[in-house]
Symmetry: C2
Subunit: 346 residues, 2 copies
C-alpha cells in the first residue's frame, strides 16, 4: 500500500479538503500512474452531494484522469514507464458478460467498477483522480496520443467519450442534422466532435451568451431555448438531439424538434424523474434514449480521433485549493468549459 | 352526395345512435365501398369521449373497415367492382412531403387525414366505418387477400398494422426476444405477428387470465405484471417490448426488463403524461420509442403476410345496437379480442 495525497469530501455535501489515501500495491497487470491533471465533471458534484443517491465517504472524486506511467506490473504489455495515459469513469468490470466481451464494459451486466464511489472486486473502496497517484489495471487504462496536451486531454476521458459514443452510435455525420443541447463541459465536446464527424451542428443553449464560442468550436447554428420562437423555427429539424443537461427539461417540446425517426439521446441525467407525453414519440416514430460513457476500446478510438482532428477540451486550469469554488461555478454554469485540477498543487 | 346509414356519437361522451350521413360523390380516383365489417378500436372510445382532446361531432368512429368495391371512379386503376378491400386509420395525406414519398403517409409532415374526426382537403368532416358505405381514394384503399375472411380482416387495418409496423421496424424475428405488453385487441395481434416473424414471444399481461389464449396464439411465455416476481425474473431479458396498453405504466420498471440496446415501443397511448427516470434509458443505452399505424404499402404487405400465415384477428361479432355495450366491455378489457360490427345491422 502506498499513501498518497488527495482531495476528498469527508461526508455528503461537505467541502472537499486535502487528505491522504492508500493506493493498492501495483499488481501483475496494474500500472501506477502519476496523475498530472484531473477534470471536474458535473457528476462529481452529483455524487459528492448525494444527488444521485447514497454514496461512500470519504469520497475522492475524479474520473477524468491524465498522467504518466511510473511503474508497471510484470504482466503489463500495453504500457511502459513514461507513457502518457488516461483513466475514465471505470476501472474494472466482470470482463465475462456479453457486453464486456463486446467491448461495452460500461454496460457490464454485473455493473462496472466506478473509478470512485464504488467497491472494487476485493471490496475495497475506489478513489478517483483528485489525487497525485492511482493504480489501475492496464485493461482500463488508455493511451493519450502525443498530439494531445495532457491537461486538455483529461476531460476527454468522460466528457469526450460520453458525447463521442452516442454521436457515433446514432450516426452523426455528413448529411445529418445534430443538435447539442447544453453548452457546458459535455456540450462543448459534443459540438467539437459532431462537427469533426461531419454533421451539421446546432447548439441549443439557454441563452446566446456562449454563441461566439459555440460557432468557433464548430457549430453551424446557435439558438436560445429560452426563446419560444426557437421551438417554432426548428420544429421537425433534427435527426439527433444530444442532451447534455442535467436540469429537468420539457421533453415534449424538445421531441417536437426531431424529424421522422429522430432520436433524443440523454447523456445528462436529472436527479428527478421527467414527465413525457407518449404521443411525442408516437408521432414521427421518435426515440428517447440514453447513453453512458463508452467502452475502453471506443475511448481509445475517441482519443485518437481527437488527436487526429487536433483538439482537446477547452479548459480552465485550477489549483486543488480552488475545487470547492469551482464546484459552485459549475453549478452556476460559470466555466468555459471544463475545470481541470493541476494535481501538482494537491 | 349519397345518404347512408351510420352509427354516430352526437356529442362527446354521448352514447352512439343510428343516424344518416352524406358521403361524397365518387370522384375520379375514388372507390365506393360497401362496408361489411368495422372493428371497434380502443382509440374510437378515446376520441368519442374526447380523452385525447377536443373532437368533432357528430362523430362516426371506425377505422378498421372491410368491404366490397361497388363503384369505381374513371381514374381508378388498382381496384374493380367486386374487389375485397380495406380502409384503415387514414384516407388521405399531402402525398408530397418526404415521408409521404417514402411510403410513410402516417407520418405526413402536413398531418394525414384521419378516417374520421378529421377534415378532408375540402374542409369537409370525415366519417368512419360504423356505416354502410364509404367513399375513399384508391390510394388509401388496400386489397384484402382471398385467404382472409372479411370480418377477421377488419381489425388488421388498425390493430394489425399498428403492431406489424414496429415489429418489423425494430427487427422482431429469429433470435430476438420480444415481449408484447397487454393482451387486448392490439396485443393479441402483436403475439400472432411476432410469432409469425420468428421471434421468441412473451406476453406481459396484468393477470394470467388469458394465458391459455396467449399460448395458443403463439406466445412462448406468459407472465403477469401484477406479480412483482415477474420483474425480478425477466430483468434484462428483452430486445423489444411492444406496449399496447393505454393505461399509465411504471415505465422505469418495464425499461429494466430490456437488454442492452433494447427498445420499449409504445403503440398504446395513455391520456396523461407518464413519468420517467432518465437513468432507466442511460443504463444499457436503451430506447423509449413510439410508432403509429403504418404506411399504405406496408399495410398491404401486412395483409399479405397475415393471409400467407393464415390468420386474421380473433373477433366477437356484434350488431350495431350493441356498440355502446361493447365500448364498456372494451374499457373493462372484457373482449376476446376485438369487437367487429356487422354493418348489415346498422
Amino acid at each position: 500500500m502506498t499513501t498518497v495525497a488527495a482531495y476528498a469530501a469527508p461526508a455528503a455535501k461537505a467541502p472537499l479538503e486535502r487528505t491522504t489515501i492508500e493506493r493498492r500495491p501495483v499488481g501483475e497487470n496494474d500500472v501506477l500512474i502519476e496523475i498530472k491533471f484531473a477534470g471536474i465533471c458535473h457528476s462529481d458534484i452529483h455524487q459528492a452531494r448525494e444527488g444521485w443517491g447514497e454514496a461512500m465517504f470519504p469520497m475522492v472524486p475524479g474520473h477524468e484522469i491524465a498522467g504518466i506511467v511510473t511503474e508497471a506490473g510484470p504482466g503489463v504489455t500495453k504500457f511502459a514507464v513514461g507513457d502518457r495515459v488516461g483513466v475514465g469513469c471505470m476501472v474494472d468490470s466482470c470482463r465475462e458478460c456479453e457486453n464486456c466481451k463486446a467491448g461495452l464494459e460500461q454496460y457490464c451486466t454485473q455493473g462496472n467498477v466506478g473509478t470512485y464511489n464504488a467497491l472494487d472486486k476485493n471490496g475495497e473502496p475506489t478513489y478517483g483522480g483528485y489525487s497525485t497517484h492511482i493504480v489501475v489495471d492496464e485493461a482500463f487504462t488508455v493511451r493519450i496520443p502525443d498530439g494531445l496536451a495532457l491537461d486538455e486531454a483529461a476531460p476527454l476521458l468522460c466528457a469526450g467519450i460520453t458525447t463521442y459514443s452516442p454521436l457515433k452510435h446514432w450516426n452523426a455525420g455528413p448529411g445529418k442534422k445534430v443538435a447539442i443541447l447544453g453548452m457546458g463541459g459535455l456540450g462543448h465536446m459534443g459540438v467539437k466532435i459532431a462537427h469533426a464527424l461531419g454533421a451539421e451542428v446546432t447548439v441549443l443553449s439557454q441563452s446566446l451568451r456562449k454563441k461566439d464560442d459555440g460557432l468557433k468550436l464548430g457549430a453551424d447554428h446557435y439558438y436560445a431555448t429560452s426563446d419560444p420562437k426557437t421551438f417554432e423555427e426548428l420544429r421537425g429539424s433534427f435527426d439527433l438531439i444530444l442532451s447534455t443537461v442535467s436540469a429537468p427539461l420539457d421533453l415534449d417540446a424538445f421531441l417536437s424538434l426531431l424529424r421522422m425517426d429522430g432520436a433524443f439521446v440523454n447523456v445528462g441525467a436529472p436527479e428527478e424523474p421527467v414527465s413525457l407525453n407518449l404521443f411525442s414519440v408516437i408521432g414521427g416514430r421518435k426515440t428517447l434514449a440514453g447513453s453512458g460513457i463508452g467502452g475502453i476500446q471506443e475511448t481509445q478510438e475517441m482519443l485518437d480521433f481527437c488527436a487526429e482532428h487536433g483538439f482537446g477540451a477547452e479548459i480552465e486550469l485550477i489549483s486543488a485549493a480552488e475545487i470547492n469554488e469551482a464546484y459552485e461555478r459549475v453549478l452556476s454554469s460559470d466555466v468555459r468549459y471544463r475545470f481541470v485540477i493541476d494535481t501538482a498543487t494537491i
